[in-house]
Amino acid sequence: MEERPFSDISYEQYLNEERLMGSRCKKCGALFVPPRSICVSCYSSDMEWVEVKGEARLAAFTCISVGPPFMIAEGYDRKHPYCSGVVELEEGARVDARIEGVDANKPEDIKVGMPLKVKFLHRGEGDSLKTYLAFLPM
């Protein structure tokens, strides 16, 4: 039985452990990724953790040339854009994620609807370890 609170902090901790986790309402069955502690369908707070498979389809994307400081620090710029997207998980929920393994200089080749699988991008070490949720083309 998982004891962690249904919070963004827990969600991030699970990502560090290479697990994509959400919460499911025990009363109505609604699934939330990232997790919610209050069900927005039936207002119950009776939740359980669920691990999703990490198979998805691309729902929307953008190839960003002018990024925030932490992406610039990873080497992205006007000549080296990166792709961010919204993906629809096989289980139905949607998550925001980085899209890896595509050429962000050729956005015409990236297709809404393309099948994807999860990849955990680890950056930094120790206390500064951060894991970014990413998806790759299947």
Binding site: D8, V33, P34, A59, A60, F61, T62, C63, I64, S65, V66, G67, P68, P69, M71, Y76, R78, P81, Y82, S84, G85, V86, A93, R94, V95, D96, A97, R98, A104, P107, V112, G113, Y132, L133, A134
Partner: protein, 421 residues
């Protein structure tokens, strides 16, 4: 069933003012607010004593971040001699001053106050572009920022979803940009009062002057397709799909309906006022509309008893070209998926059946975020009173206009409908 919304007491707009919108090195929030306030006073046909204002509602998103100064309510109330009367700041990201307007309406409708100033101000240009982007990104949903989404990125993603669902392309978005730029030269307060053709000619002249190769574009769209002239920001959003960084202020004088004629024989009446809230991208099952706009529209139409086809023109929150497309569908002016066809047919032009963003929109008029909501209503005021000069909507009996304001990634949306009787 939803209760029919109504005001406890009618509310009228009897004065309005707006500063020029631009990037000002030598003007701050107080200077710009002063400009808007003086114009507002001069706009009250029968004159009035500013000492009679009961309270100020001021929209401001994040001057805290942009100029390292918060708590703008009392700063502005002191500027205009309102202190010690109350000043309340509202924050709803880029919809901050639409919320100030709404709170002002409620304050009068409740019977508590009779004369209220609803206003907005933002001073963004004193920081670098990267810093402004960081400041604005405070209004994204945390999950979005964490995976690298910027504001243009969020709207770029919405565009790919719209393209995939309805078969539209970048060419459709170019029609919006070209239309907004054709209205802007007619607005003396616009930040970019230039048509796309003007911009092309300026680039050609500049190249000639510098002795560089002179660019050639067949038409406006070939200019917009040229990534040297119109670089990618967050594909498919290019530079000309995005609104600029701006400074500015706007204010409106609201009074109880029964005293409106003491101020002017030509007041405008607040007949519909709606607001909605939204979730992040990941929590939407369809990224081709904004739930919060649809809710705001339902409230505003419900209150006014009007249908979308009764609105004769509207300002909508075109922070990005795709946003205008989505809003004109969400507000019911066109069916979902039909907006891009309507724009291509010229239906949203100033002389078309449903003029959208006659001011030039956020794209050309400018977008000082906290001032935008009241700034949009300023355009509705000008149009309904027949004072819009060269950009006046050429319709007989112009009576009903609307303004739609959006904050964040659709987190706060409003629709306000004004009527001239």
């Amino acid at each position: 069933m939803q209760k029919k919304r109504k005001l406890g007491r009618g509310v009228a707009v009897v004065g309005a003012g707006m500063s020029k919108f631009a990037m000002f090195k030598d003007k701050d929030s107080k200077d710009l607010f002063g400009e808007a306030f003086r114009e507002m006073i001069a706009s009250v046909d029968k004159g009035f004593d500013p000492g009679e204002i009961d309270a100020l509602y001021l929209g401001n998103f994040t001057n805290d971040f942009f100029v390292h100064q918060g708590h703008w309510g009392p700063i502005i109330s002191d500027l205009i001699g309102l202190a010690p009367k109350p000043a309340t700041r509202t924050e709803g990201a880029c919809a901050s001053s639409a919320l100030a307007f709404r709170e002002g309406v409620f304050a009068i409708a409740s019977g508590f106050y009779d004369i209220v100033l609803a206003a907005g101000v933002e001073d963004m240009s004193k920081r670098t572009t990267e810093e402004v982007a960081e400041g604005l990104a405070l209004a994204t949903v945390p999950y979005e920022g964490r995976v690298g989404f910027t504001f243009p990125g969020v709207f770029g993603a919405l565009a790919t979803a719209y393209f995939a669902k309805y078969g539209a392309t970048r060419e459709d978005l170019m029609n919006i940009t070209i239309k907004s730029h054709s209205n802007a030269p007619l607005n003396p307060k616009a930040q970019f009062p230039f048509s796309i053709r003007d911009m092309m000619n300026a680039k050609i002249e500049s190249a000639k002057k510098k002795g560089k190769p002179v660019p050639y574009w067949e038409d406006e769209k070939s200019f917009l397709r040229d990534t040297a002239a119109n670089p990618v920001v967050a594909w498919p959003m290019h530079l000309y799909d995005c609104c600029p960084i701006s400074d500015g202020a706007a204010c409106m004088l609201l009074v109880g309906e029964e005293i409106a004629k003491n101020f002017t024989d030509d007041p405008l009446y607040v007949i519909g006022i709606g607001q909605g809230s939204g979730r992040g991208l990941h929590a939407c099952d369809d990224l081709t509309y904004f739930e919060a706009t649809r809710h705001a529209a339902k409230e505003a139409y419900g209150m006014s008893g009007l249908k979308p086809e009764d609105i004769q023109f509207s300002e909508v929150h075109d922070c990005f070209s795709i946003a205008e497309l989505i809003h004109i569908e969400d507000l019911g002016f066109f069916k979902p998926g039909e907006g891009h066809k309507a724009v291509a047919e010229g239906l949203t032009r100033r002389d078309g059946p449903m003029p959208i963003n006659t001011s030039g929109g956020l794209k050309c008029k400018g977008h000082p975020v906290g001032a935008t909501g009241v700034g949009q209503l300023f355009e509705v005021w000008k149009q309904l009173r027949g004072e819009a000069g060269e950009r006046q909507v050429p319709k007989k009996d112009l009576r009903i206009g609307a303004a739609h304001n959006l904050g964040g990634t659709g987190g706060t949306c409003t629709l306000t409908i004004l009527e001239r009787r």
